[in-house]
């Protein structure tokens, strides 16, 4: 394939001889490149620098020592031999399939958009911290004059660690799920919109594999986004307020180390709380070829559900809204921890992930890709 012999050569500057390729290539990968220049029938595969193993399999494996004698010989394995294939066999390692996930992660987190979303999330605790600091600098306590605020806000002045809880409580209803909605909604629809979806699929990425990769990436983003809020809040809290032992909601005292542990646990629970939205967003993303439409729909659903969750008449339905138990993470700050709603929340998220994950899979694996 990459043989260059008879080429009249319009490729003067570009790619004269593939042989050169490896030479020019900065990559450290050891290539079979010494051979091509010898002018023998270059195995196409070898020229393009593919892995030697898959390149010339059928022959080697049976002719280990009996040197070249076996050359024109039948072939070790009758079937593969007759294949007119340049690169007869590729022996994919099962691990290679993870390459797409790694690439997806790198691609996602390198995008300016992702960084901007994380930046906004990181800014929320900073704003809260600074606001509380300014408001209380006169000596009054935060809870006193301010009226209702996000959970734990009154405690921040006593212990900076509470800013982590406040920050998560402030971002969980909207900022975090909105960010997830953007990433999840754009996951498939954005690729379809750009046309890159068809090239991924003929690569072939595999529809199920691509969907799983997208979901795993979205979940990773959930975790990273939550941790960004938590770490930013912790840094600001430590900077502006004292740290130390803290009082739980139940009134007992726990050590700072245990408090830190609970903060981490809360961050994980918050991240897990977002799996439902992520699955929902991914499902919406498989329905359309417009990334913007998918993002808008997901965020719209998010807002709608939160509004419905406030309407008393819908009491019977509310336990099934994905956001209904979100703020239950505060129960981790009780002593002993009150698990009921936490567990119900996680069950609900798992249910959403299962239902919408399956729906997304059913839709995506049967969809005609026309974009």
């Amino acid at each position: 394939m990459s043989r260059a012999e008879g080429r009249p050569n319009q490729y003067a500057q570009p790619a004269p001889e593939p042989k050169q390729a490896p030479a020019l290539d900065p990559s450290p990968a050891p290539k079979p490149e010494p051979e091509p220049p010898t002018g023998r029938e270059p195995h196409p595969a070898s020229v393009t620098g593919r892995d030697p193993h898959p390149a010339d399999p059928p022959t080697l494996h049976r002719a280990p020592v009996p040197v070249p004698v076996s050359a024109p010989v039948p072939a070790p394995v009758p079937v593969p031999v007759s294949a007119p294939v340049p690169a007869p066999v590729r022996v994919p390692s099962p691990m290679w399939t993870l390459g797409l996930f790694r690439d997806e992660l790198v691609t996602t987190f390198r995008r300016w958009r992702t960084i901007a979303l994380l930046g906004v999330l990181a800014a929320v605790p900073i704003l809260i911290g600074v606001a509380v600091k300014v408001e209380t600098s006169g000596g009054s306590s935060a809870g006193g004059g301010g009226g209702e605020g996000p959970a734990f806000i009154a405690q921040i002045t006593n212990n900076g660690l509470f800013l982590v809880f406040t920050g998560l409580a402030a971002t969980l209803p909207f900022f975090l799920p909105m960010a997830i909605g953007v990433i999840a909604g754009d996951a498939i629809a954005g690729e379809a919109n750009a046309g890159t979806l068809r090239y991924l699929l003929v690569a072939p990425a595999g529809r199920t594999r691509l969907l799983l990769t997208k979901y795993a990436t979205t979940m990773t983003f959930c975790l990273v986004a939550t941790l960004v809020v938590a770490v930013s809040a912790f840094a600001v809290g430590a900077l502006l307020f004292p740290l130390g032992e803290l009082t739980t909601i139940s009134g007992t005292r726990i050590t700072f180390a245990e408090g830190l542990g609970r903060a981490l646990l809360i961050a994980l629970v918050v991240a897990a709380s977002l799996t439902g939205v992520a699955a929902l967003g991914l499902f919406v993303s498989t329905l359309t070829n417009s990334g913007i439409a998918a993002m808008a729909t997901t965020v719209g659903l998010l807002i709608t559900v939160q509004i419905l969750d406030q309407i008393p008449q819908l009491h019977a339905l509310q336990p099934y809204f994905f956001s209904h138990y979100w703020l239950s993470f505060a129960d981790l700050m009780r002593d002993p921890v009150y698990w009921d709603e936490l567990v119900r929340n996680l069950e609900l998220q798992a249910l959403y992930a299962a239902v919408f994950g399956t729906a997304a899979w059913a839709r995506f694996t049967t969809k005609d890709i026309t974009a």
């Binding site: 394939m1 043989r3 080429r7 050569n9 490729y11 500057q13 790619a15 593939p18 390729a21 490896p22 900065p26 990559s27 990968a29 023998r40 029938e41 195995h43 070898s46 620098g49 030697p52 193993h53 898959p54 010339d56 399999p57 022959t59 080697l60 494996h61 280990p64 070249p68 050359a71 024109p72 070790p76 394995v77 593969p80 031999v81 007759s82 294949a83 007119p84 294939v85 340049p86 690169a87 007869p88 066999v89 994919p92 390692s93 290679w96 390459g99 797409l100 790694r102 690439d103 691609t107 750009a194 046309g195 890159t196 068809r198 090239y199 003929v202 690569a203 049967t366 005609d368 026309t370």
Partner: protein, 353 residues
């Protein structure tokens, strides 16, 4: 096809065989195998074969209607048709992107879309123009597409990407963000993506779209070169002369149906050439020719053209000259593929060049 089932022997050899020895051994045997395999392939099934392939979109529109397409192994196959004739839908069905409504399609001997995961690693495709991640560099775009292929070895990924970039002449611009690329550069990058691995089949949908003449020539020679290495190339194009120059076989679609397919030479021969008489005395010439029984006369400023008659042309010329018609030129213009095309589809064609 066979090589696909060849997967089993590999693990063994992948494990144990010393690489260098293996390479030489492989090299020796390769030529010996080649001929046999080629004949086997041609005797056997085609690289692409469809039977009554049909696609009806949800709106009820019949995009492809009972297509029986056969692409012989090793051919450069031109796929022609006016806009909206179902070419792209066909290509998408072949690539497993669209599920046929009925009928079957097989690529490399395997049914599609069911065997997409085993077949597609051997297929390079450029479908409806390139699609790139604008926020990634050209190189990163290729790395991503390569990572999407689970059979692509990550250890050789960078090397293969650089080689592909060089082949399409993009090495110098590889670090630029793809959104800054011109259409021609995007097209080249799309081609590079199709060339990341050695392929058995290349499906190129309008590969020269957006390229300058120099770029078109490069693509043509690239296609020839790939074909000479045994890769089957399935090429859809609007440029008929391009098809004529590059392709060994062609098929013509119109309104979702296959009008004709076969070797290019046969197709062009199917349309008869035209007799062209270059003369200032157009009126007389037309009259004489008509008297001689020539049909389909068209008088132009510079002469007369007509359907080439089956009889001895020299007699016609004699008749013209005897009648005092001053003949500057006399001859039959060979039918081009375009003539054949228009004759077949019975309509105009968007000829871009």
């Amino acid at each position: 096809m066979e090589e696909l089932s060849a997967d089993e022997p590999d693990p063994a050899q992948d494990a144990g065989v010393p690489v260098p020895t293996g390479r030489t051994g492989g090299a020796r045997t390769e030529p010996a195998r080649a001929p046999g395999s080629a004949s086997a392939a041609s005797a056997e099934d085609a690289v692409i074969a469809t039977r009554a392939l049909t696609k009806r979109y949800r709106g009820g529109q019949l995009a492809v209607d009972g297509l029986d397409l056969t692409v012989p192994a090793g051919s450069v196959f031109g796929f022609l048709g006016p806009n909206g004739s179902g070419k792209t839908t066909t290509i998408r069905m072949l690539m497993g992107l669209i599920e046929p409504t009925s009928g079957t399609a097989s690529v490399l001997g395997r049914p599609m879309p069911r065997s997409a995961r085993t077949v597609l690693p051997h297929v390079g495709a450029l479908i409806e123009g390139p699609a790139l991640y604008g926020f990634l560099s050209g190189r990163d775009n290729l790395l991503r597409y390569d990572a999407a292929d689970p059979t692509a070895d990550p250890r050789t990924r960078r090397t293969r990407v650089e080689t592909a970039l060089e082949r399409v002449g993009l090495s110098a611009a590889a670090g630029k963000k793809a959104r800054a690329y011109s259409l021609g550069m995007k097209q080249r990058l799309g081609l590079a993506a199709a060339l990341l691995q050695p392929r058995r089949l290349l499906v190129l949908d309008e590969p020269t779209n957006g390229l300058d003449p120099q770029g078109m020539r490069e693509i043509r020679s690239l296609v020839r070169e790939l074909a000479s290495d045994g890769t089957t190339v399935f090429l859809s194009s609007h440029l008929l002369d391009e098809i004529e120059q590059v392709c060994t076989h062609a098929a013509v679609m119109a309104q979702g149906r296959l009008v004709v397919q076969g070797p290019v030479a046969d197709l062009a021969a199917g349309a008869r050439g035209r007799l062209v008489v270059n003369t200032p005395d157009t009126g007389d010439a037309a009259r004489i020719l008509k008297e001689q029984g020539v049909t389909d006369l068209v008088v132009t400023d510079t002469g007369v053209s007509a359907e080439a008659p089956e009889r001895e042309l020299a007699e016609l010329n004699t008749a013209l000259v005897m009648a005092g018609v001053r003949v500057r030129g006399f001859g039959v213009e060979r039918a081009s593929l375009e003539d054949a095309f228009v004759a077949l589809t019975g309509e105009g064609f968007d000829v871009a060049g």
